[in-house]
Symmetry: C2
Subunit: 339 residues, 2 copies
């Protein structure tokens, strides 16, 4: 028994021919006699020969690996994105290497280093919340590795992006709240250095403006997780003039707010309406189910991976960056009043 896996050399030796002949026979090169081809292919099958991807990578300076950096895997939207990425990658013959930043800038940089070392052919990134400096991403590009950002993108860096239509989504959500009779609409938002958060807030403001509803700035607060919502929602409810609606920047924040509101004995949507962002399972099964914006994580993953594969195939780093927008759509459920 040989140690390790079968190599082209093993086959060559067994058949008394050269390695190069085996190599050619395996790729059906026209120069090779069909007799040797058959012999080689038979033995290769018999011995379960598998081309060594590592050797191929070194030879061709191409690994056929795509790297993905994601804030956290345990998250319906992100896992959907990964699923989409894996799907496209598989079809295009790429393998997918996963890294999570855990929302840490330091970890994200480590991940980029690993990606550089691994010589991946391209990278997909959704940035950590902490990230404000982008030089590590620039280094990837300087080394000829194309990057496509998704969801958590940055405007400073001119790069390919795949984002959901945060502005339009937020606008639609808030407009829906206004049209269903809400007047004091709070916005639980995320840190404004994230484009996504900016756009969702812009959508909120624009909708309020359009419908001439005054914005009470004390109703626009930073609050972007389930736990934070548990802490901060009570303050909103205890205000002299509490809000009659909440537009939350993401699903778990909406769920957190909902749970507090129920504990306060208030009725949703009669006393307070709620809209979230991201159509996860939580929104569907919570009670009342949450009106929310479907974010199509799978599609984001598919689009981003497609774009990246194209960039890799082009092989030219002087491209004009584009931004693809995946439409969101408002799913009206039970947490908002009927119009």
């Amino acid at each position: 028994m040989r140690s390790g896996q079968v190599t082209i050399k093993d086959i060559a030796k067994e058949l008394g021919i050269s390695a190069s002949t085996v190599s050619r026979a395996l790729k059906d090169h026209p120069d090779i006699s069909s007799k040797t081809k058959i012999a080689v292919n038979e033995l290769a099958k018999k011995w379960h020969y598998k081309p060594n991807a590592v050797a191929l990578s070194l030879r061709h300076s191409k690994t056929n690996v795509i790297g993905v950096i994601i804030p956290e895997i345990v998250h319906h939207f992100f896992s959907s994105v990964i699923s989409g990425i894996e799907e496209i990658a598989h079809k295009a013959g790429y393998n997918v290497m996963i890294f999570q930043s855990n929302e840490s800038y330091q970890r994200e940089m480590d991940n980029v280093q690993a990606l550089l070392s691994s010589r991946v052919d391209g990278v997909l990134v959704s940035m950590s919340k902490e990230t404000k400096d982008y030089s590590h991403f620039r280094e990837l590009r300087d080394n000829g590795i194309p990057i496509v950002f998704f969801d958590r993108v940055c405007n400073d860096l001119s790069s390919d992006n795949v984002i959901v239509d945060d502005f339009a989504g937020a606008f639609a959500a808030v407009e829906h709240l206004i049209e269903s009779g809400c007047k004091r609409i709070a916005h639980l938002s995320a840190p404004q250095h994230m484009l996504l958060a900016q756009n969702r807030q812009k959508g909120y403001r624009q909708a309020m403006l359009k419908h001439k509803v005054a914005i009470d700035e004390s109703l626009v607060i930073k609050c972007d997780s389930f736990d934070e919502a548990i802490i901060k929602t009570p303050d909103l409810l205890n205000m002299p003039e509490p809000p009659d609606a909440i537009f939350a920047v993401n699903e778990m924040t909406a769920a957190g707010a909902l749970s507090v509101i129920k504990k306060f004995g208030l009725k949703v949507p009669d006393d307070i309406s709620i809209v979230g962002f991201t159509d996860g399972i939580v929104s569907r099964v919570s009670d009342p189910s949450l009106t929310t914006l479907e974010q199509h994580g799978l599609e984001v993953g598919l689009k981003a991976a497609e774009l990246l594969v194209d960039r890799i195939t082009e092989g030219n780093m002087d491209y004009e960056p584009i931004t693809k927008v995946v439409k969101t759509n408002l799913i009206v459920r039970e947490s908002t009043r009927r119009i």
Copy 2:
């Protein structure tokens, strides 16, 4: 500007020394003069030298990559597992390659082929529901690649496993139902070729037996997804003697049953109690929240990855397979009656 990334040769040429000296200087080899070391390290930093992991892999016949095959990524339990795996891998200096089988046997075999080609150092697998033949896994092992199965393991193949304590969990769940006064307990189960499903069903039967509660076999049905629960739960409810409790093999099935029960105008837990398996977000936020078994996906991932890393480090394929069991614990919420 050089094309591609900086190599050891580039540095050697620039400094007028040999590649091996550079190599040694970079790894702080005692033979090298501190003068050259400094010069080399400075230039390496200045030029952002990154060791080429591909070349290292070829050289050492070790990729420092762990492969993971998972039925589907978009699933709270599995994404938790991946998160745990990534965590350990990162600490131990391994990168993680992700493949999803989409519950397809064919796809799973493709994934194994890709893993073999990639020469990964080890593999973590949770099998697809379709898989009944294990020769592709055997091939991995025959090639010296250690495998650790988790959650969806098989008993035919003597291999390392990390599983949750399905039997004890199911037993505890059903005992809880019985003690809270339920008499006709239905079990929504998964295909029995999966060890996990077998053990959960055994736990159910054992608890019934212990408490001398008769098992009505028409209440034990194959039903293991949200959609299937939507279809099959009505049949249960329409029986002349409908069940007063449901023990579902997983979370989404429980959620599906719950939603049907609510539509039927029945009260949970007063009319029917429900227990699920897997503590996902769904169980927490559904209304009523679901009594369930915490499955500790993260811990499964951590344990499985740790075990795999150990196996890789040992470098000896003649080990005695072990099975690690991660305890489950019953989280009593609102979908079951107080005892």
